[in-house]
């Protein structure tokens, strides 16, 4: 990229401090690889991966304000709606396809995961764990959960397909998607014990277990 301003680099390093999942995702990515970030927002994750791992990355985003933010940040962004599929992308044209904090807001969840593994060799998703104990407690006290990872009211949330770790793993098994790695976090720290209860953020790496057709 020739059109990246110097200040952008410093910015993305700062963002990474706030978004601990960025560093976790980065650990799973081979330097210099090709990355597609679905629902890339303002491009922070791609900017971070580009600056730390020298990846060749593109983002997909439908929101005008986010597309503008990406252009400002020197991120290669393609404006389109993920729900329409990834028809413009060739099979296996990326090493990794990332869906960060977006899965729970998708209408066509199965189709998106299948498309991720058509276009990419590996998929990485992150999502808020609905099974987190604070969420469970909210429901026990009779209220819809709200938390740092679920910051919306029931009436204005974009999240329509919330799930727990167990739900997601069962979903992958049904799709014949092989989970290769899992990381569960709360407030930036890894959760090893009772992750479906104590973890607020889930990060999965997966690949297809069905035969590759070309």
């Amino acid at each position: 990229m020739t059109h990246v301003p110097v200040q952008a680099h410093a910015r993305f390093a700062e963002t990474a401090v706030e978004r601990s999942d960025f560093a976790a995702i980065a650990r799973w990515i081979t330097p210099g690889s090709r990355v597609l970030d679905l629902g890339c927002g303002d491009g922070s994750l791609l900017g971070y991966l580009r600056d730390t791992l020298n990846v060749r990355g593109y983002g997909i985003e439908k929101d005008d304000a986010n597309v503008l933010a990406c252009v400002k940040n020197g991120i290669d962004v393609i404006q389109m709606n993920l729900e329409d599929g990834l028809a413009g992308f060739d099979s296996l044209s990326f090493d990794y396809v990332i869906l960060s904090q977006t899965l729970q807001a998708m209408h066509h969840t199965e189709q998106v995961v299948r498309e991720m593994l058509r276009v990419g060799k590996q998929g990485i998703v992150t999502f808020p764990n609905f099974g987190y104990w604070r969420h469970r407690w909210s429901l026990l006290t009779g209220r819809m959960p709200m938390s740092k990872s679920l910051p919306y009211q029931w009436y204005n949330t974009p999240n329509i397909h919330l799930c727990t770790l167990n739900d997601f793993e069962e979903f992958c098994a049904g799709l014949e998607v092989r989970i290769t790695q899992r990381l569960v976090m709360t407030n930036g720290d890894e959760v090893a014990v009772l992750p479906n209860l104590l973890g607020s953020l889930a990060i999965y790496r997966f690949e297809k277990s069905w035969p590759i057709s070309t």
Binding site: T2, L68, V71, I75, D76, I78, Q79, D90
Partner: protein
């Protein structure tokens, strides 16, 4: 001029070229003029030049006015000027009238130095590739080795794209706006109807109407009316005119009944007064012939492998003549080649004409992109 965001009063210049230009058709143009305008200041290392490529009926008069009393500024004045998205405080901007044009650059209504007569029907058919060659010679004459950016909408976007293929080392950024990698059959069909309107006008005289002291005004007028319909969206025409009647009641005649008819006739008449029919024929042909993938068995990704520029591709949702799907084809081919590309699909009601409109988000995207280029 009091408007501080305007480039102010501008003066066109003419560059003369004596070296013959071999055209894609095989014809050779022995010598030619290109008329152009510049805004802003070329920096010491000549690295801040931006070329604006015009569309079908555009000219070199891109920004500013010729006099304080001019009613209208250049055709992209809302985009270009001090502090505007294409900021002339930073960039040295060049607008150039293409070969075959009718606003000062050598074209059918110019004199053929070989015969001393007007070129007329004998002026060769020029292509996007030919324009890019001619523009590169203007750049040579101005001492510009590499453009910071080449920018164009519609047919102008095709030239920006072609630049990245013909001279990959001379373009750092290409802004390809409301363009397409080629025209569809339907799109070419509109051009054919426009040309037939001109060619079958009794005053066309095979393209040598100058000698007869007439112009094929009726044909050119109809061609422009047709074009206008395709540059607007159904919604935009609906909002602007709907079924509004000119005089408030139906008169059961073929005179102007609906406001839309009044608009089309006005646009057609205005255009027929100021534009040359032979130029219109050639501009539409340049559109038809543009197809960089043709030499690569129709594979656009292979065709764009030559490009080294970074790209900003922009389309408009209501543009059905150069639809977003066509821009996405360009984006896909750039992705296949791992080029740096940003693609924005602007929600706009104005159809193809939207690329000329001062839409805030559209301008913000262009501004943001240009602010980041070195």
């Amino acid at each position: 001029m009091s408007d501080i965001s305007s480039v102010g009063i501008v003066v066109p210049q003419t560059a003369h070229f004596n070296e013959p230009l071999a055209l894609k058709s095989g014809a050779v143009l022995p010598a030619y003029d290109l008329v152009y305008e510049t805004y802003g200041t070329l920096n010491a290392d000549k690295s801040n030049a931006v070329l604006i490529c015009h569309a079908l009926s555009g000219t070199h008069h891109v920004a500013g006015k010729y006099s304080e009393n001019d009613k209208y500024p250049g055709w992209w004045d809302n985009m270009i000027g001090p502090g505007k998205p294409l900021d002339t405080n930073r960039f040295f901007v060049i607008g150039v009238n293409n070969l075959g044009g009718c606003h000062g650059s050598t074209g059918p209504s110019s004199i053929n130095p070989g015969t001393g007569k007007l070129w007329g029907s004998t002026f060769p058919i020029v292509t996007v590739e030919d324009w890019v060659q001619a523009q590169s010679r203007l750049a040579d004459q101005l001492g510009i080795k590499t453009f910071a950016a080449i920018v164009g909408g519609s047919l102008g976007g095709m030239q920006a794209l072609q630049w990245t293929l013909t001279f990959p080392d001379r373009v750092r950024n290409a802004l390809v706006i409301a363009a397409a990698p080629n025209l569809t059959a339907q799109n070419m069909a509109f051009n054919e109807v426009a040309r037939q309107a001109i060619i079958t006008d009794p005053e066309f005289h095979g393209g040598d109407y100058y000698e007869h002291g007439v112009v094929p005004r009726r044909g050119l007028r109809i061609a422009r009316m047709l074009g206008h319909i395709t540059y607007l969206s159904d919604d935009a025409m609906g909002d602007k005119f709907g079924r509004k009647l000119r005089s408030g009641e139906i008169k059961y005649s073929f005179d102007v009944e609906f406001e839309m008819e009044s608009y089309l006739r006005y646009q057609g008449d205005k255009f027929a007064e100021s534009f040359d029919a032979n130029t219109y024929l050639r501009m539409t042909r340049a559109l038809d012939y543009f197809d960089p993938a043709a030499d690569c068995n129709g594979d656009l990704s292979t065709a764009l492998a030559k490009a080294k520029a970074d790209f900003l591709v922009i389309s408009f949702t209501s543009d059905w003549r150069f639809s977003p799907a066509r821009s996405r084809e360009i984006v896909k081919a750039l992705l296949d080649n791992e080029r740096s590309v940003a693609y924005a699909e602007i929600t706009a009601a104005h159809g193809h004409d939207a690329f000329l409109m001062p839409d805030q988000h559209y301008h913000d995207i262009v501004r943001a992109y240009l602010e980041n280029i070195a």
